[in-house]
C-alpha cells in the first residue's frame, strides 16, 4: 500500500475545473458560491440529498466518525458517481475549521475516501478561515474573504427573517418568495470584486423591507430554539428536516446565525493568548478582525431595529457575556462555549425556553458544552426545557421525533399554565406587561448600543483598512 496521493488545485485548474461544494445552509451557500464565481471560479453547490448520500457516507467513512463527516463526504462521492461533468474537470472544496476537534480531519478523511473509490486524481481544496492547509491555485484574497463574510451575514439576515415570517404567513409560499427575492438581490450585488459596507447595508435594508411585505397574522406560537453541532444544527440532511418538523408542529423556529461561528473562531485566537500567553501576533490580528466583525453584526442589528419590528439577533458582547457562570471561554474545540452561550442566550435574551440541542451521535465536544452544561442551565433557569437529540445514519426518526414531542408537550403545558396564571388579569394589562418587557429589552439594547457607539467609530478605521488592503491587492 502506497502513501496517499494528495492532488492540489493548480492555477490552471481555475479555468478548467468546476468546484463542487457540499451544502450546509442552502441560503448561505448559494450566496457564497456566488462570491466564488465572482472571483473566477466555476462553482457547483451540491443539491443531491437522500439515501444515496447516506449510503456513500457509510461505505466510505469509518462509521464511528461523526455523522457530518459521513454526510459531507457521502454527498461529494454521491455527486461524483452521478456527475455529468468530465471527472478530470472537477475539484472538491471542503471547509476546515482547525482546532482540537476531530472535525479538522474531514479533509483527510475525504482524501482517503476518494482514494478508496478511485477518485484519487480529483483535487481537493481546503477552505479555511484560519488556513489549516493551503491549496496552490486556490486563494482567498482579502476582498473575497470580506465578501464571503458579508455573504454569511446576509444569509443570517435572510434566515432570521424567514424564520420569523414562515409560521405566521397568511398566504403560503410568501415567505419563501421573499427568500428567493432576497437571494436574487444579493446575487445582483455580489457580482463585483469590491464591495463597500454601505452597499451591503443598503442591500440589507432592501431585504428587511422585502420581508416586511410578507403578510403575517398575529398569533402566539411556541418558539423553539435550535442549537448544536454546526452541521446537524443547520443542515436538513443532517437533522432529518428538523425545522420542517417543528413548523408542522406549529412552532416558530429560532436559530442563531452562522456569523457567530466566525466571531467565535476569531475570538478564540485572541482569548488563547489571554489564557496561555501564546501566539501574540496572530492574536493581535484576530483581535482586529473580530472587532471588525462585531461591528458589522451590530450594524445589521441596528438595521433590523430601524426598519422593522422583527426581533434582531444578539450583539456578540452579550453572547460572550452569556457564558458567565456556565462554562469557561477556554472551551474552544468544536462549537465549544458558543453552544452553551447560544442556549443561555435563547433563554435569557430571546425568552425562548424550549430548545432542541442537536448533535451527531458521540460528538466529543458536545459531551462538555452541550449535555455537560444542561444541568447548570436548568438550575439557573428552571423554566428551561431542553431536549438533546442525537443524529446518526441509524438513529430512527420516530425516536427523535418522540423525544422532541415530549419537549413540545412540556412547552405547551408551560404555555397554558402561563396563560392560566395571567388569565385573570385583563387583556389590556397583559398587553402592558408585554410592552414593559419589550421596553426593558429595548433599554438593555440601547445600553449595549451606547457602549458600542464608540467601538463602531473605532471600527470604521479597521474597515477602511481592510477595504484599502483589498484595493491594493
Amino acid at each position: 500500500m502506497e502513501p496517499m496521493k494528495k492532488v492540489t488545485f493548480t492555477k490552471e485548474m481555475k479555468q478548467t475545473h468546476t468546484i463542487l461544494i457540499p451544502t450546509m445552509l442552502p441560503i448561505h451557500f448559494k450566496i457564497l458560491g456566488n462570491v466564488l464565481e465572482n472571483y473566477g471560479y466555476k462553482i457547483k453547490v451540491l443539491d443531491n440529498f437522500g439515501q444515496g448520500v447516506i449510503d456513500q457516507g457509510l461505505k466510505n467513512v469509518h462509521n464511528d466518525t461523526c455523522y457530518p463527516a459521513q454526510l459531507v463526504i457521502g454527498q461529494m462521492i454521491d455527486a461524483l458517481e452521478h456527475c455529468d461533468l468530465p471527472l478530470d474537470k472537477v475539484a472538491l472544496l471542503i471547509t476546515q475549521t482547525g482546532g482540537g476537534c476531530r472535525a479538522s480531519n474531514y479533509i483527510h478523511l475525504l482524501r482517503k475516501a476518494l482514494n478508496k473509490c478511485g477518485y484519487g486524481e480529483i483535487p481537493v481544496i481546503s477552505a479555511s478561515f484560519l488556513k489549516s492547509e493551503q491549496s496552490g491555485g486556490f486563494s482567498l484574497p482579502v476582498t473575497m474573504l470580506l465578501q464571503a463574510v458579508y455573504g454569511v451575514l446576509c444569509g443570517d439576515l435572510i434566515m432570521t427573517l424567514y424564520n420569523q415570517c414562515i409560521p405566521y404567513e397568511n398566504v403560503s409560499g410568501e415567505s419563501q418568495k421573499a427568500v428567493d427575492d432576497s437571494v436574487e438581490m444579493a446575487e445582483q450585488l455580489f457580482c463585483k470584486k469590491l464591495l463597500r459596507w454601505k452597499e451591503v447595508s443598503a442591500l440589507m435594508v432592501k431585504i428587511i423591507k422585502r420581508f416586511n411585505q410578507v403578510n403575517r397574522r398575529k398569533e402566539e406560537k411556541i418558539k423553539v430554539g435550535i442549537v448544536g453541532e454546526i452541521y446537524v444544527k443547520y443542515s436538513p440532511l443532517g437533522n432529518n428536516n428538523l425545522e420542517e418538523f417543528l413548523l408542522s408542529e406549529g412552532c416558530e423556529v429560532v436559530c442563531p446565525g452562522l456569523f457567530d461561528f466566525l466571531l467565535y473562531c476569531t475570538h478564540n485566537v485572541e482569548f488563547d493568548h489571554d489564557l496561555y500567553g501564546i501566539n501574540a501576533v496572530k492574536a493581535a490580528v484576530m483581535r482586529k478582525v473580530n472587532h471588525f466583525l462585531r461591528g458589522r453584526k451590530s450594524d445589521m442589528i441596528h438595521l433590523i431595529e430601524q426598519n422593522s419590528d422583527f426581533q434582531p439577533p444578539c450583539h456578540f458582547e452579550s453572547t460572550i457575556e452569556s457564558t458567565k457562570g456556565y462554562i469557561g471561554k477556554g472551551v474552544k474545540m468544536g462549537e465549544g462555549w458558543l453552544l452553551t452561550a447560544e442556549m443561555v442566550e435563547l433563554i435569557q435574551h430571546y425568552h425562548v425556553n424550549n430548545i432542541v440541542c442537536t448533535q451527531p451521535f458521540g460528538c466529543l465536544p458536545n459531551h462538555i458544552c452541550g449535555k455537560g452544561v444542561m444541568r447548570v442551565i436548568k438550575e439557573k433557569n428552571p423554566q428551561a426545557n431542553i431536549v438533546a437529540v442525537d443524529y446518526d445514519s441509524s438513529a430512527s426518526k420516530v425516536n427523535q421525533q418522540n423525544r422532541i414531542k415530549l419537549m413540545l408537550a412540556n412547552a405547551r403545558l408551560m404555555a397554558s399554565q402561563q396563560n392560566m396564571a395571567s388569565g385573570n388579569t385583563s387583556n389590556r394589562q397583559q398587553d402592558s406587561t408585554l410592552k414593559q418587557v419589550q421596553d426593558v429589552n429595548k433599554d438593555s439594547h440601547s445600553q449595549v448600543h451606547a457602549g458600542f457607539a464608540a467601538s463602531t467609530v473605532g471600527n470604521k478605521s479597521s474597515e477602511e483598512q481592510l477595504e484599502l488592503a483589498a484595493q491594493n491587492g
Binding site: 462509521n63 464511528d64 500567553g277 458521540g362 459531551h367
Partner: protein, 992 residues
C-alpha cells in the same frame, strides 16, 4: 362520557375505557408488529362498553405515532400521559420510573418537574429482558422466579443491552448459576436506568414504578428498591402500572372536543392510509422465482460428503466447537467425510449437551470406529477440554481457517458470522493476513435475528424464509441492534410487513459486517474466492443479501454452521498424523461419561485488586477447572517469573508516588495545606509534574485511589452524557473519592494543549480530556462545598506557564510569590522529564529482555490512562500470561523518524500511536495491539490510520475495544488468534 386511551408501544397494545375516574375495561396484548390489527382487536373486546355511546379517544406510544397521524386521531406523548395519570392517582409522588418495551423514562415531580427519556444508545429494557431470557432458554417469567433465588450479583455492563449481552454470554459458558445471572440481568437494567436517566438528580422519596416489565417482574422490583434504598412505603408498584400511559391518555381526552361512535372510530382506524412514509425501502432479494431457483441450485453444490457411521470402520477425529450460543460437534473420518454432525443451541448448559452427544457418538462408533484425537474450540474451549479430557484445544479463528482452506484451497477471504461474533480473515500466502472481529457495539449477528424472530412469534427459519420473497425490504440501518430495534419500530409505524422486516434485518446484518467490521467498499477488496460460514449464513436471506451487496457470488458450505468443529477435527487429524504414533484419544471413555458429574460455583478471587469473578467447575473425582481468571494466580501454580510489563511498571510507579504523598502528609504536614488530584485521564501522565509542583510550593498532595468498579459506581450518578468514554466517566468517581478523603481543595486544570513532543502538526488534548474539568464543575454538586480549581493551563508553553499558573493560584494562596512558582515549575518540568526518561529506559530494557529470550513483544498502544486497571481490565496481565512481553507505545514512539500520516496529526497522545506502528513495521519481533475506549471519537480516525501503517508493512493489526465490560473472553480469543496467526506466518516464512 367515556374516554378511551390507547397506548401502542414497541411490542404491546394497551387500551383502557374509562368513565369519569372509573376504569370500565382494560386490555394488554402483544401486537407482533401488526399495529393496526392489534388495536382493532383490542377495541373489539371493549365493544360492549362502547356500543351505542359517544366517546372521546386518543392514542399514545412510540408505535402509535404513525397510526395517530394517518388516522387523524389525537396523539399524546407517552411520558406526558404518564404524568397525567400520576397527578390523578398518586399526586404526592416524588419520582416516577417507567420501563417500556424499548424506552426507559423518568419523571421528577418534586423539586421542579423534569421528564427524561433514555438516549438513543441505551436499549436495556423490556425487549432486552426478553432477549436475555431467550439466551438463557427460559421464559421471562421463569427468569423472574429464578432471580429471586440469587446468591450473588455479577457485574454486567449497564450502558447498553448489547454490551450486557457480551458480559452475560461468557458467564453462561463458564457455568455460572442461572439464578445469579437472572438477578444480575435485572441489576443491569436497574443500573442503566438509574445512571442513564438520573444524570445527577437523586431519585428519592416516594417513587412510583410503572410499565409492563416493572409490573410483571418481581425480581426487577426487588433490584430497584434495593439499589435506590427505598423503604417498602416509598417503593410503589401500583396495580395499574402497565396501563399508566393508556390511563393518562384517556384522562387527556377529557379536554378534547371530538367525539366518536364505535363504528366511526373503527372505520377511521381501518381506513387510515399511511400518509407519511419515511421508511426507506431496498431492492427485493429475488426479482423472480427463477433467480431464486438458480441461487438454491448453486449453493446446493457446496457440500462436505457424508459417510454413514454404521458403514465405517477405522480412524476418526472429533471436533467440538462450544460457541457463545450454540454447541457443535463433528466426527470426521480419515478421508475428511463427516460421520456425525450436531448443531444446537447451548441452552446455557454446554457441558451437559456435549456429554449427551459424546455418549451418542460412542454408541454409534461401537468397536469399529476409533477416535484418535479430539479437539475443542470456541468460547467454551477450555471448559470442554478440561471437562472431557480432550487432547487439544485451538483458538476458534484458526479452526475456521483450517476448515475453509480445506474446502477451497485458494480461499482469499473467510467470513464467519456466528451467534455473537463476526470473524473475517484475509488469507495471503496460505496464512492469515489480517483478522477482523466485530466490536461489542456492532454485534448485529445471528442471535439477534433469532431472538427478534421469536419476539414476533416465528422460528428463525420461518422468519428467514418469509424474508426471501419480500417485495419491499425496509432499510433498518447498520449501526447496532439497539438502533435496529428502533428502526424496526419506525418501519412498523409505516406499516411494513413481517416479510419486509425480515429481509431488512438480513441486509442490516450484512451491511454491518461489510461497512463496520470489514470496512470494505467492494468485492475487489475481498478477492475472488470467498467462503462464508457460521450459523447465520444458513439463513438464505442473509446469504443472498451478502451476495447482492458485494455483487459477487460466494461459497457457502452446507456445514456452514459446523466449520469450527470441522476445522478442529481437521487440525486434530494433522497433529495426530504428524505425531506418528498410534494411540486413542485421551477423551473420557463411555464408562467415565456415565459417571460424569459437573458442578459450578462462582467466587470472587482475592488474589489481587482485579478481583476477578471466577467460576470453579468441579467434575467427577473432584477435578477442578477454574475460569474467569486473568492471571495464573488463582490456579495455585505458584509464582512464575513475571515477564516485563510496562503497564505494570507504570502503575507501580503511580502506586509508589501515591504512597510517598501519603507518607509525607503524615510525617511532614506542609504549611499551605493539602491539594487533591483526581487520578484519571491526562493526570495519569502529568501526575509526577503536579506532585512535584505542589510539594515545591509547600502543599501536601492527596491522589485519589486507583479506579475500581465501586469507585465508578460512586460517581455514576452525576454523569451527564452516557456515550462519553469510560475513562472520562470514571472521573466522577475520583472526585467523590477525593471528597470522601476530606480534602478541601481539588486541582484539576483544563488543558487545550498537551506537551509538544514534536511528532505532529499540533499538540492538542482531545476535547474530552481537555475540558472534562469544566463538566465536573457543572455536574458534581458537591464540588461547590470545596475549593475546586480548574484553571486553563498550557504545559507546552514553558515560558509563560509559571506566570499563568501563579495568576490562577494567587487568589487562593495570597502569600505565593512568582519567584516561588517559577522554581516550583522548573522542578516540576524536571521531574516530569526524568520520569518520562525512566519509562523509556525501562521500555528499552523490556525490549532487550524479549530479544535475549527470543520472546515476542506486544506494543500495547493506548493512552496514558489505559494503565488504569479498571480501564484495561488486566489485558496486560493476560498478554504476559500468553508468554509475551508488554511495552507501551510511548517507549518506542521516539525510536523512529516521526511518521507523516495521511490524517491531521494534531493530538499529542495520538501522534505516539502512528510512530509506534511504524516501529512495529520495522521490527519483526514486535506486534501491535491497540486499546480503544468505546466512544473515543478520535480513535475512529487513529485506528484506521494505524492499521494502514501496519498494512503497508505487511503486519497484522489488532484492536481491542474496552469499556465497562469486565469480561476478557473475546479479548483472549483475539490475542490468541494474533499469536496463532503470527506463528503460522513465521512458519510459512521459514518454509520459503
Amino acid at each position: 362520557m367515556k374516554n378511551i386511551g390507547i397506548d401502542i408501544g414497541s411490542t404491546t397494545v394497551k387500551l383502557v375505557v374509562m368513565e369519569g375516574e372509573k376504569i370500565l375495561y382494560r386490555i394488554y396484548q402483544r401486537h407482533l408488529s401488526q399495529v393496526r390489527q392489534a388495536t382493532l382487536q383490542a377495541l373489539e373486546g371493549a365493544k360492549q362498553f362502547l356500543k351505542g355511546d359517544k366517546f372521546r379517544a386518543a392514542i399514545s406510544g412510540s408505535a402509535g405515532l404513525g397510526l395517530a397521524e394517518d388516522a387523524g386521531i389525537d396523539f399524546v406523548q407517552e411520558v406526558f400521559a404518564t404524568y397525567k395519570t400520576v397527578m390523578e392517582y398518586e399526586p404526592d409522588t416524588d419520582a416516577v420510573i417507567e420501563l417500556g418495551g424499548e424506552d426507559a423514562k423518568i419523571i421528577f415531580l418534586s423539586g421542579g418537574l423534569e421528564e427524561r427519556m433514555n438516549g438513543s444508545c441505551a436499549g436495556g429494557t423490556g425487549a432486552f429482558i426478553d432477549q436475555m431470557a431467550t439466551l438463557l432458554s427460559i421464559t421471562p417469567e421463569e427468569m423472574d422466579e429464578l432471580s429471586l433465588k440469587h446468591e450473588r450479583i455479577y457485574p454486567i455492563a449497564s450502558r447498553c443491552g448489547v454490551f450486557a449481552k457480551t458480559d452475560i454470554q461468557p458467564l453462561l459458558n463458564q457455568g455460572a448459576r442461572k439464578e445469579d445471572v437472572s438477578a444480575s440481568i435485572f441489576q443491569a437494567v436497574v443500573d442503566q436506568t438509574v445512571t442513564g436517566l438520573s444524570q445527577g438528580r437523586k431519585i428519592e422519596g416516594k417513587v412510583l414504578f410503572l410499565g409492563g416489565p416493572l409490573f410483571f417482574f418481581k425480581g426487577l422490583q426487588e433490584r430497584f428498591a434495593e439499589t435506590l434504598k427505598l423503604s417498602k412505603k416509598n417503593a410503589v408498584f401500583p396495580s395499574w402500572a402497565q396501563y399508566s400511559v393508556a390511563i393518562g391518555t384517556a384522562i387527556f381526552t377529557r379536554g378534547l372536543d371530538r367525539e366518536y361512535s364505535y363504528e366511526e372510530f373503527t372505520d377511521i382506524l381501518q381506513n387510515a392510509s399511511s400518509r407519511s412514509k419515511s421508511t426507506h425501502y431496498l431492492k427485493p432479494l429475488f426479482a423472480n422465482e427463477q433467480e431464486h431457483d438458480e441461487f438454491v441450485n448453486r449453493h446446493s453444490k457446496a457440500n462436505v460428503p457424508w459417510k454413514d457411521i454404521a458403514d465405517y470402520s477405522g480412524d476418526a477425529y472429533l471436533g467440538i466447537d462450544c460457541g457463545s450460543t450454540t454447541t457443535k460437534l463433528v466426527l470426521m473420518s480419515d478421508s475428511f467425510e463427516t460421520l456425525y454432525r450436531y448443531y444446537s443451541s447451548s441452552q446455557g448448559n454446554p457441558v451437559g449437551i456435549v456429554r449427551q452427544q459424546l455418549q451418542k457418538i460412542y454408541e454409534a462408533c461401537g468397536d469399529r470406529v476409533k477416535i484418535r484425537y479430539a479437539v475443542a474450540t470456541g468460547y467454551g474451549e477450555e471448559l470442554i477440554q478440561h471437562a472431557f479430557h480432550l487432547d487439544d484445544g485451538i483458538v476458534e479463528t484458526i479452526a475456521h481457517f483450517k476448515a475453509a482452506q480445506h474446502f477451497d484451497p485458494k480461499v482469499e477471504f473467510i467470513l464467519d458470522i456466528g451467534g455473537q461474533d463476526i470473524k473475517c480473515f484475509k488469507i495471503k500466502n496460505d496464512a492469515i493476513d489480517s483478522i477482523m472481529l466485530n466490536e461489542a457495539c456492532s454485534s448485529g449477528c445471528g442471535s439477534f435475528i433469532e431472538t427478534f424472530a421469536k419476539s414476533m412469534g416465528y422460528t428463525a427459519e420461518e422468519f428467514a424464509r418469509l424474508g426471501l420473497f419480500s417485495k419491499y425490504p425496509v432499510d433498518l440501518g447498520s449501526r447496532c441492534t439497539v438502533f435496529m430495534n428502533s428502526s424496526v419500530k419506525q418501519a412498523q409505524k409505516d406499516g411494513a410487513s413481517v416479510e419486509d422486516i425480515s429481509a431488512g434485518l438480513s441486509m442490516s446484518v450484512v451491511k454491518n459486517v461489510l461497512y463496520k467490521v470489514i470496512r470494505a467498499r467492494s468485492s475487489d477488496e475481498l478477492g475472488e474466492h470467498i467462503v462464508v460460514q457460521g450459523g447465520t449464513f444458513l439463513n438464505d436471506a442473509v446469504l443472498r443479501s451478502f451476495e447482492q451487496e458485494i455483487g459477487h457470488n460466494v461459497t457457502r458450505p452446507d456445514i456452514a454452521g459446523l466449520m469450527g468443529a470441522y476445522g478442529a477435527a481437521i487440525y486434530g487429524r494433522g497433529i495426530y498424523k504428524a505425531s506418528g504414533e498410534e494411540k486413542l484419544s485421551s477423551m473420557l471413555s463411555a464408562k467415565e461419561l456415565e459417571n460424569f458429574v459437573h458442578e459450578s460455583k462462582p467466587i470472587v478471587c482475592q488474589g489481587c485488586t482485579n478481583h476477578c469473578n471466577l467460576t470453579i467447575n468441579t467434575f467427577a473425582g473432584g477435578e477442578r477447572y477454574i475460569s474467569g481468571n486473568r492471571c495464573e494466580k488463582p490456579l495455585g501454580l505458584g509464582k512464575e517469573k513475571q515477564l516485563p510489563d510496562l503497564y505494570r511498571f507504570k502503575l507501580d510507579q503511580i502506586r509508589n508516588l501515591s504512597e510517598d504523598c501519603r507518607r509525607l502528609r503524615e510525617e511532614k504536614p506542609m504549611r499551605r495545606g493539602t491539594v487533591g488530584l483526581p487520578l484519571g485521564l491526562n493526570m495519569y501522565e502529568n501526575l509526577f509534574f503536579w506532585v512535584e509542583f505542589f510539594h515545591s510550593l509547600q502543599m501536601n498532595v492527596v491522589i485519589s485511589d486507583l479506579s475500581s468498579r465501586a469507585l465508578y459506581a460512586k460517581g455514576q450518578y452525576s454523569v451527564p452524557s452516557d456515550t462519553a468514554c469510560y475513562p472520562a466517566k470514571l472521573m466522577h468517581g475520583h472526585i467523590e473519592n477525593l471528597l470522601d478523603q476530606g480534602v478541601d481543595t481539588i486541582f484539576y486544570p483544563c488543558m487545550s494543549y498537551n506537551f509538544d513532543e514534536q511528532k505532529g502538526d499540533n499538540h492538542f488534548n482531545c476535547p474530552v480530556v481537555a475540558y472534562y474539568p469544566e463538566l465536573l464543575a457543572s455536574n458534581v454538586e458537591k464540588l461547590k462545598s470545596v475549593r475546586y480549581l480548574y484553571p486553563y493551563l498550557n504545559l507546552s508553553a514553558q515560558k509563560t506557564f509559571p506566570k499563568k499558573v501563579w495568576e490562577a493560584l494567587r487568589d487562593y494562596y495570597p502569600d505565593l510569590t512568582l519567584k516561588e512558582v517559577k522554581q516550583a515549575s522548573e522542578n516540576a518540568y524536571n521531574r516530569y522529564h526524568a520520569q518520562r526518561m525512566e519509562i523509556k529506559e525501562k521500555g528499552k530494557e523490556a525490549l532487550e529482555f524479549a530479544r535475549e529470550h527470543g520472546l515476542k513483544t506486544i506494543i500495547l498502544c493506548g493512552r496514558p490512562y489505559h494503565v488504569d486497571p479498571e480501564i484495561n481490565h488486566g489485558i496486560n496481565q493476560l498478554i504476559t500470561s500468553l508468554g509475551l512481553v508488554v511495552v507501551s507505545e510511548d517507549c518506542v514512539s521516539d525510536l523512529v523518524e516521526p511518521v507523516r500520516p495521511n490524517v491531521l496529526n494534531q493530538w499529542t497522545y495520538h501522534a505516539r500511536l502512528y510512530n509506534a506502528a511504524k516501529y512495529v513495521t520495522e521490527h519483526d519481533d514486535c506486534e501491535l495491539v491497540q486499546l480503544v475506549s468505546f466512544g473515543c471519537g478520535i480513535d475512529a480516525i487513529t485506528t484506521d490510520e494505524v492499521s494502514e501503517i501496519l498494512a503497508r508493512g505487511d503486519r497484522l493489526y489488532t484492536q481491542l475495544k474496552i469499556d465497562e465490560i469486565n469480561n476478557l473472553g473475546a479479548v483472549k480469543i483475539r490475542l490468541r488468534s494474533l499469536v496463532g496467526a503470527v506463528r503460522e506466518r513465521d512458519a510459512q516464512k521459514k518454509k520459503q
